[in-house]
Symmetry: C2
Subunit: 446 residues, 2 copies
């Protein structure tokens, strides 16, 4: 793998060592999403301490960074006010705003504190009182939206997804529109309705245009869908009028989350021409609570698919800019104990890279801000079982999916719980994203 635009200093490289183990023993399980190589950032609270603060997931626990900072075990680098506890906040933004050197320094410190052969973490490991204050079991933690999101943009960067949708709704012979291969097509989403995993999602009402009626009717969405996506969090913004070069773009990315871009297909089809999706998407977008840093993903960097035609200059970057992230979608009906895996795919299939997305987003001068969320677009792989939406998996409902334990699904039904999962498979460990879950509530009476 080649990474000319995002050099990794030696101390950071050590945090990626596959051999490193933690004295938090649950983190050493090969199936655990949160080994010491991951160290994803999130925001949490507990029943006994309702004030939300920043934590890092390790094994079956959350480490409270506000407590570590208070205890003098975690320094934030010069440039920020040392006295300020950026971890005693209800969002990651203030920490992220300190810049990449700070993210990396904190990662290096945390990895040292939590390593099995720690010297810096002896106090934390052996002081039962401190450990009790600093560690919370994940099962006891309430996880919050990790960042305050000033802007949410959603891209459309899977060639397979765009081709599938184009085939269904436009012309199978010219499924991919001519602009698609020239730029990472994107649109502005609604930031206010981005919710954290676990938040129930109410089935939306809206205008539905039924084929046998001249005018639309108002009612509950009948074609409720997921979109399996990832999202990246902007870690360093750009000023208005000052684009981010493609080669520099990864340095502006703090990390990634899983993202479910819930979509009301029937509302969408009626409303989206000519200005794009609006109510069909704006009712909810769910993200996973842990932000996996781009640094933690470094060992899983791979080459992006070949791009033909060759992109215009402003979209070029040397090296490898895709990431090998396995993805899965599970559907569990309310009555069923068991979930059915309905899709398995990989982020590496995406045609346009995150760096290209950010370069394109800013090339006309648009500014971005710390905490901005940029969705990948639905991640569909090349095979029918790797599509990232029910629309594609069931081909607009024509081929319903069989569920374990009986029943079928064309689209989502009330009470269904949808889960996205994602992980990078290392040798003997995995860097996981945790889950991105939402259960559907019935629509309001219309």
């Amino acid at each position: 793998m080649s990474n000319p635009s995002n050099p990794i200093p030696a101390d950071l490289q050590a945090t990626l060592d596959p051999q490193r183990k933690s004295w938090v023993e649950s983190a050493n399980d090969a199936a655990c999403d949160f080994p010491i190589q991951n160290l994803p950032f999130g925001v949490f609270s507990t029943a006994s301490q309702e004030r939300a603060r920043v934590g890092v997931a390790i094994g079956d626990s959350v480490v409270d960074l506000a407590v570590l900072h208070e205890a003098g075990l975690l320094r934030v680098p010069a440039g920020s006010s040392g006295a300020e506890n950026v971890f005693a906040r209800a969002a990651l933004n203030d920490f992220i705003a300190l810049g990449r050197d700070a993210w990396r320094s904190v990662r290096v410190q945390l990895s040292s504190l939590l390593a099995r052969d720690t010297t810096s973490g002896v106090t934390l490991r052996d002081d039962a009182g401190l450990r009790q204050r600093a560690f919370v079991k994940l099962a006891d933690a309430k996880l919050h939206l990790p960042v305050e999101i000033p802007g949410y943009t959603d891209f459309y960067s899977s060639k397979e997804h765009a081709t599938n949708v184009g085939s269904m709704f436009r012309d199978p012979k010219n499924a991919l529109l001519p602009n698609w291969s020239e730029m990472p097509i994107g649109y502005n989403g609604r930031a206010s309705s981005v919710v954290v995993s676990g938040t129930p999602v109410r089935r939306p009402n809206g205008q539905l245009k039924l084929p046998d009626q001249e005018r639309p009717v108002f009612g509950a969405c009948r074609k409720l869908d997921i979109e399996l996506e990832t999202g990246f969090i902007v870690g360093r913004g750009n000023a208005l009028g000052e684009p981010i070069a493609c080669e520099d773009a990864e340095a502006h990315i703090f990390g990634m989350v899983l993202l479910n871009d819930w979509s009301a297909r029937d509302i969408q089809q009626w409303e989206y021409v000519p200005l794009g999706p609006f109510n069909s998407k704006g009712f909810a977008t769910t993200i996973s609570p842990w932000v996996v840093t781009l640094d933690a993903l470094e060992p899983f960097r791979v080459a992006q698919p070949a791009q033909e035609p060759r992109p215009l200059d402003y979209l070029r970057h040397a090296g490898d800019h895709a990431f090998d992230i396995a993805l899965e979608v599970l559907l569990r009906p309310e009555a069923a104990g068991e979930a059915t895996s309905i899709s398995r795919t990989n982020f590496r299939h995406m045609y346009w890279t995150m760096a290209q997305q950010l370069a394109h987003h800013t090339v006309a001068g648009c500014n971005t801000r710390v905490g901005d969320l940029m969705g990948s677009g639905t991640i569909s792989g090349p095979t029918p079982d790797s599509f990232g939406s029910l629309l594609e998996l069931t081909w607009n409902g024509k081929n319903p999916l069989e569920l374990k334990g009986g029943g079928t699904r064309a689209f989502i039904e009330d009470g269904d719980e949808l889960t996205l999962a994602g992980w990078c498979q290392g040798d003997g460990y995995r860097v996981g994203f945790g889950e991105c879950v939402g259960k559907i509530l019935p629509a309001l009476k219309s």
Copy 2:
């Protein structure tokens, strides 16, 4: 005019009295945008006091509300912490969040303080020291973005505009798409690049698809345009999953601004299918600095155009929900001393009302927040000289406009200064919006 959904209490009614005059004599000029009947809210600073705070425009001056509050002359009603000075802030959001009773109470107090026959304002009028601290000449004030904007949505609610654009780019025989007459079509805009009047706007670069070339080229926009719009500011949000009823929607609106939705037509035409405009709009949106409250607009309430077909239930509201706001666009080339008026129209032509826009925006469950900005969409009137964009005024450049003092314009050129103006004409006074101005800088070298 009929207004069943927005009842006006008697003390508020008194602030609308056309006969009321101010002891700030410049406010009594019939041509002044800021008479005592207006009292628009904004945020300002001065060279000698750089900290931004909330003010109200009156005549040729700004009244510093933070100073009035400190001096005990302005109370914010119970429900808010009386000790807190919500006016000593760099945005209106905290004041707006106090709710409509607070906005109205402050309006009533300000009108009393500033009225020629004041009793409450005797101290302010006669205490030269206090008056000097509390009043700043508009010419000496730096005006800031009045609100922190969590979300920006742009609608498309002028039938004339949608018909013109549809005729040019789709099919003149079926210019209006079938969904347009059924709902206020809207899309999410980019909140980060909303700037206050006076901020220079850099011509964007982007992908241009030239008719004689197979692939797009990268370069400076050649069809830079304005869109004459108004915007409303959400004063009370709604929770996720809890729509705002059309009949209640006006109570959620704090006030209005002028809005210039700068548009790069060539970038737009190549990028916008299928997900809508993105880079062609995201480089800048300019708003006027003074938020004219919905209360101040009450005397100018008029009936909206007839809506046929009759809207679905969730888009119905009894009474009159349009406003008679005269609008004008001026273009001044860099070299020219003189500006040319290139369009005159009126907000009352808009097919969909602000209340309908807000009801539609939330009907699927999308939440809104205090400070959200909702653009009207380009406001084009029925006659060719009342169109709200150069695209329409010059019919995509085919009929360039003649400028005063020579020269023509198909689209905007570097150095051009574009000004939107708007006002409600009363009997002997006008409730004005001030100006919404932007001057175009050359594109970055591409």
